[in-house]
């Protein structure tokens, strides 16, 4: 059984959204705004701190283990893409 929820899940509980993309776009805007004005190194640190905060909030090690595996699996495929398309 999978513990990690990979379906769209953004939103405020109890709120209705007229368009499915709205709560995700709200989140993405918040996230990018959180990086505004930071140097690259600070942005990296922000990302790391954010991962730690959210990981602690989730807490369930089964979920976190699956999330790490899913993130890593995607990387392999993406690297392969890079190799095929050296122009980018």
């Amino acid at each position: 059984m999978q513990h990690l929820n990979t379906d769209p899940n953004f939103g405020i509980p109890g709120e209705r959204y007229r368009h499915v993309y709205l709560p995700g776009d709200d989140f993405y805007e918040m996230l990018i705004a959180g990086h505004r004005g930071l140097a690259d190194a600070q942005s990296e640190l922000l990302n790391a701190r954010l991962i730690l905060l959210l990981a602690n909030h989730i807490g369930d090690l089964r979920v976190l283990k699956e999330a790490i595996a899913a993130a890593r699996a995607g990387l392999a495929a993406d690297n392969a893409d890079h190799d095929e398309t050296p122009t980018r």
Binding site: D7, R18, H19, L31, G74, D81, T87, R88
Partner: protein, 565 residues
């Protein structure tokens, strides 16, 4: 020169004012005969208002410019008498596919739920739409469309705007009770009056090319919008392919801020880009011809207020968005849909002129929604920092596998109408309702049968004036009150919506229209039970709704929707 379209040349006529004192007082002047100005003038003329529409040119838009017309806009164009032509000539499409490099990461199907007359989106070159609107305008005797009449000065006065107009034969002045300004993104009138328009400038350039393809990349009835992030065939962040009518395809390539706009427009630069895109899609043998090219930049900004005394700004003159999401022309036409009936009521003395402040409030809110969507799309498509770039690429790399990430992929959130949730014209709900037809929402369409049994659409039975949508027959005790509403100074027609399979009685009272809710979709979408009633504004937005109708409540809601509360 375009190979698929010949620009009409519209005749200039010597304005009568030049021979009659050089001046005239008129109720309405609209400046700018683009799609938005034309829609405004046609709507006002359909209300029976005499309107003068001024344009400094004598033809329709050069180049195709606006391409996508959304369902709500098509519904408005239906009311203006050109919807059918636009849909017939345009290309209906539903599938959008998004690629990251060569890999498809996301696709969407715009096909709305069943039971809407108009599709989610129709693509049509802007010049066709403008031509249809010009031809429609010619049917309306009250609409005086004056080509090669250039506005040189506007002087706002307490009770009118003085509009000085230049022609080949000399200058004249129109003193307009109300001036609708639809003179485009560069709005000479807005600039001359020094009115602020503020927002975000994006430092980026895009090449658009309209090309005629010799073949069919996709079957005509299964056409696609294709969007690429980091395409392998183009050194830029994005590229887009879109079908228009007459085998003309729109291609859009992001060039970056440092690109030289003049050089990039030259065929020797454009042709290889298009060739590379076609080759990459698997069409190495497909030939093409260039129709039109342009290099554009854009801004996301709006005026602080759309009403300035007797001047009302609409469309690009009032607000500008990035093209991603097709929210430019669509929102401009929706501005006019909101404004025309209000101007009509004010001119007839049936509403206070403060009703026009609600135009400002409602359409500023809609513009903010459009600005937010188009700014977000632009930020996603062209990341502005290393951190944003990494995050964007992470979303794209997850999107092929992970459903949640697909929803985050943003290649433009396509134009949908604003729900005017916070409008002062709305009567807040007193009863509980589910669904989305809340006060301020544009009414969803639904298939209906007319009293004579003919199949049609709910929206075609509404609009133009106020309508009380009444589900099931009103109680006999209400009939006199509903008849009186139909005769009031601002009339409210009752439209009785009967459940599927109902029979229309032989004698329908004169104050009511009747339709049968063929598939029960009107009732479902409105979360209606027997005796539920919706008060609809002339622009088909919901003003108020009740589980049980009460003529006094309808009159109060009507007064509020007319700005009299």
């Amino acid at each position: 020169m375009l190979q698929t379209y010949t620009w009409p040349r519209y005749a200039y006529r010597r304005p009568a004012e030049l021979d009659h004192g050089g001046e005239r007082r008129v109720p309405l002047v609209v400046v700018g005969a683009g799609p938005v100005g034309l829609a405004a003038a046609i709507d006002l003329a359909q209300h029976g208002q005499p309107v003068v529409l001024l344009d400094d040119d004598d033809t329709v838009s050069v180049g195709s410019r606006g391409v996508c017309y959304a369902k709500r806009t098509l519904e408005i164009l239906d009311r203006l008498g050109v919807g059918e032509r636009v849909v017939a000539k345009g290309v209906t499409w539903n599938v959008g596919r998004t690629f990251h490099r060569e890999r498809e990461v996301f696709s969407f199907n715009l096909l709305p739920e069943a039971g809407h007359h108009r599709p989610g989106m129709v693509n049509l070159q802007q010049y066709h739409l403008e031509q249809y609107l010009v031809e429609r305008a010619a049917d309306l005797p009250g609409l005086d469309l004056r080509w090669r009449n250039r506005v040189v000065q506007v002087t706002p006065q307490a009770d009118h705007a003085a509009v000085e107009v230049e022609t080949a034969d000399g200058r004249y002045t129109l003193r307009a009770d109300w001036l609708v300004v639809a003179d485009g993104a560069r709005s000479p009138i807005r600039r001359a009056l020094g009115l602020d328009i503020e927002g975000k400038v994006f430092q980026d350039r895009f090449l658009i090319a309209d090309v005629v393809l010799d073949g069919e990349p996709f079957a005509a009835d299964a056409t696609e919008r294709r969007f690429w992030f980091a395409p392998t065939f183009h050194r830029g962040e994005s590229a887009l392919l879109h079908r228009q009518s007459d085998q003309v395809w729109r291609m859009d390539f992001q060039l970056g801020w440092d690109a030289d706009p003049e050089a990039e427009k030259q065929p020797e630069r454009v042709l290889p880009r298009i060739r590379a895109a076609l080759d990459s899609m698997g069409f190495p043998d497909m030939g093409f011809r260039l129709e039109w090219t342009s290099v554009y930049t854009f801004q996301c900004r709006r005026m602080a207020r759309f009403r300035h005394g007797r001047l009302l700004f609409v469309g690009d003159a009032a607000h500008q968005v990035s093209p991603f999401g097709a929210r430019g022309a669509n929102s401009g036409i929706q501005d006019t849909d909101n404004l025309a009936w209000k101007l009509d009521l004010v001119l007839r003395g049936r509403a206070p002129d403060t009703l026009l402040d609600s135009y400002d409030r409602e359409r500023c809110a809609a513009a903010d929604e459009n600005l937010q969507c188009s700014t977000r799309a632009t930020d996603f498509m062209t990341p502005k920092s290393r951190a944003a770039q990494v995050m964007r690429d992470a979303v794209l790399s997850l999107a092929a596998e992970q459903p949640f990430a697909r929803v985050l992929v943003n290649s433009g959130r396509l134009s949908v109408p604003a729900t005017l949730r916070d409008s002062p014209l709305n009567t807040p709900d007193g009863d509980d309702f589910g669904g989305w037809m809340l006060p301020g929402a544009p009414l969803d369409d639904a298939p209906v049968l007319a009293a004579d049994g003919r199949a049609g659409w709910l929206l075609a039975h509404t609009g133009g004036g106020f309508v009380l949508l009444h589900f099931g027959w009103p109680a006999p005790a209400q009939h006199d009150a509903l008849a009186a509403l139909a005769q009031a100074e601002v009339p409210v027609r009752t439209l009785v919506v009967l459940p599927p399979g109902s029979r229309v009685p032989a004698a329908v009272p004169p104050w009511a229209g009747v339709v049968i809710d063929r598939d029960d979709l009107a009732a479902t979408r409105c979360d209606a039970s027997p005796r539920t009633a919706y008060l609809l504004r002339p622009d088909q937005h919901v003003a108020a709704r009740w589980r049980e109708v009460d003529a006094a409540a309808v009159r109060r809601a009507l007064a509020r929707a007319c700005g009299r509360a």
